[in-house]
Symmetry: C2
Subunit: 346 residues, 2 copies
């Protein structure tokens, strides 16, 4: 690392999840919506790394289909890498690392997470950067506040320095008893999918643990288009890259992976229930955004970007409306959104 060099943010915007359907669609995924306020998740992500004394303009890795949407939302991008097709996070991060200078520190962030305490995030970046400068591939370990079974966990090992630890092991999504034991024992953090490492170290790690992914990604990039700002890997070659997450391809196998624990009001907003949990409530425990009138209603979440929603005498519902679709399901069951989205595909 060059002492004092700026960290290069890498914003991953390749997901096309249906967990927040019908608002989130492949054409307009979650990060392009203002779910928690007036700014989109993507713009809020970029705003966290907007200090140009500290961070270089970000490298954005996005679905090619969303290229213009990215440019409409962000006006200070270092490079926009457009994936003709999604191949999960290992190839996406490899693309960014191949674009960066080898000595640059990359801060890899999903584009659709909430971080309520940006100061805590900045402090964790400092701690992670110090370890990354020593060659560690750093993860950010989110301090758990409940026995969540929906995330992977990271067990801390030996201390690397102030507030940074070697990873003892990664744990796949646990059952609820195991999650409760982790919470009680401490030393286990959620894997939030945020990373910080030197580009050269990431590439060396891939070379060691997933050389096929690295070689194929490099080949697709070399055969693709590059105008200096917009970079598009060759579609056929990139489609042939093995799709795998960076966790499975590298982090779980590498011997110099660390974790910087942090409590920063993080949420991946992975469901409508998560968005309900995050926001303010009225006296009846309702959370509504958009045109809504809730009469004698309790524990209900309403999100409308379309019609006015009027409820009378109902409890514990999730109601999500766009201009052409209204989804209604019980609160606590928002994982069933996938069923709804799948069954209504044209």
């Amino acid at each position: 690392m060059n002492a004092g060099a700026r960290i290069v943010p890498v914003i991953l915007s390749g997901g096309a999840g249906t967990r927040l359907w019908p608002l989130s669609t492949p054409e307009r995924p979650k990060q392009f919506h203002a779910l928690t306020g007036t700014e989109t998740m993507l713009r809020m992500t970029a705003a966290r790394v907007a200090d140009r004394m500290r961070f270089a303009p970000p490298i954005v890795v996005a679905s090619a289909a969303n290229a213009d949407a990215i440019d409409a939302q962000l006006d200070d991008i270092g490079a926009l890498i457009l994936e003709p097709v999604g191949r999960n996070t290992a190839p996406a991060i490899a693309l960014a690392a191949l674009r960066a200078r080898t000595d640059e520190l990359l801060l890899v962030m999903p584009s659709d997470h909430v971080i309520a305490d940006p100061g805590a995030f900045q402090a964790a970046i400092d701690r992670a950067a110090a370890a990354a400068a020593q060659g560690w591939l750093m993860t950010f370990g989110i301090a758990p506040d409940r026995p969540e079974t929906g995330y992977g966990y990271i067990k801390r090992g030996a201390a690397l320095g102030d507030g940074a630890f070697a990873v003892e092991r990664f744990v796949e999504k646990p059952d609820s008893a195991t999650a409760a034991a982790y919470l009680a024992a401490g030393g286990h953090d959620w894997n939030g999918g945020i990373f910080l490492f030197r580009a050269a170290d990431l590439l060396a790690g891939l070379e060691a643990h997933a050389p096929d992914i690295l070689a194929a990604t490099r080949q697709a990039l070399a055969a693709g288009q590059n105008d200096g700002r917009r970079i598009t890997p060759d579609p056929a070659l990139f489609a042939a890259v093995r799709a795998q997450s960076i966790d499975h391809a590298l982090m779980e196998k590498h011997d110099r992976v660390g974790v910087a624990p942090v409590a920063m009001g993080w949420s991946d907003l992975g469901s409508w229930d998560a968005l309900y949990a995050l926001g303010g409530k009225d006296a009846g425990g309702n959370a509504a955004s958009g045109p809504a009138r809730l009469i004698d209603t309790s524990g209900t979440f309403v999100h409308s970007t379309g019609p006015r929603i009027v409820t009378v005498g109902v409890s514990d519902l999730i109601v999500v409306a766009t201009g052409d679709t209204v989804l209604i399901l019980p609160r606590g069951e928002s994982q069933r959104v996938r069923e709804a989205a799948a069954s209504t595909e044209l």
Copy 2:
């Protein structure tokens, strides 16, 4: 009555109820919607009296605001009487009776009721017409199939002839114990708001029991506009007419009021619950019209003229959507629609 003269249907289209809000609005009341099939309630009402050997073209009494909508729906109207403001049914029926010839039999019908068995209705018209020709003001007594507390009841008295009776008394909406007793005892029918009488007898009855209403209505009509087909009472004078139902103004007071009992699959569709009760259901007890996808859903009514409604894992809801509003409430509580409509008025 002239032997063999045609009966003159009088279709009342003055209501602007909010019981089927948000679909039904003052601008487009219930009768202008196709609630039970592909035809609007208004057109289905007119179709029941479309036999021109038996019925003259109808007199339609409607809100002036809906004049063009009436003409767009009905192409064979004898007269269209336009109320500048609603004054309840006694003035509305008086307007029609004053327009008719005194010896004509008038069949007065709301424009927004369901009659599933039109043959039974025609037979009841015959029975009622025979009594009306003798000077009786005839009501149609709907055979109750449940202890309904939402309607007034008519107790049958002495027989007037085949399937027609003098009315012993009218009963306001009873409590549920009384309604159950009526159902068990028999001889009590629902007052469905359908009438048949000679115009002269109706006018004489009003002269005797509500002379102010008759005089004021006559005055408003005389001072109004009349092109032979469209008739509009003077707005200021008609607004000054005392608003009262024909039941209260006349039927409950008159001594020659009869009832023709009939079982004809009648419903006033007075609520979304009533519409749910009337229609077919899927195996889960759901009734849906318009774009809808019901997944693991039971006992739920969906009616959309706007967005697609997708439900997952819910039970016993009413969901009604138009292009700009979605109403959600528990099934069985659709009387609460009024609260919703009132609270969302602009």
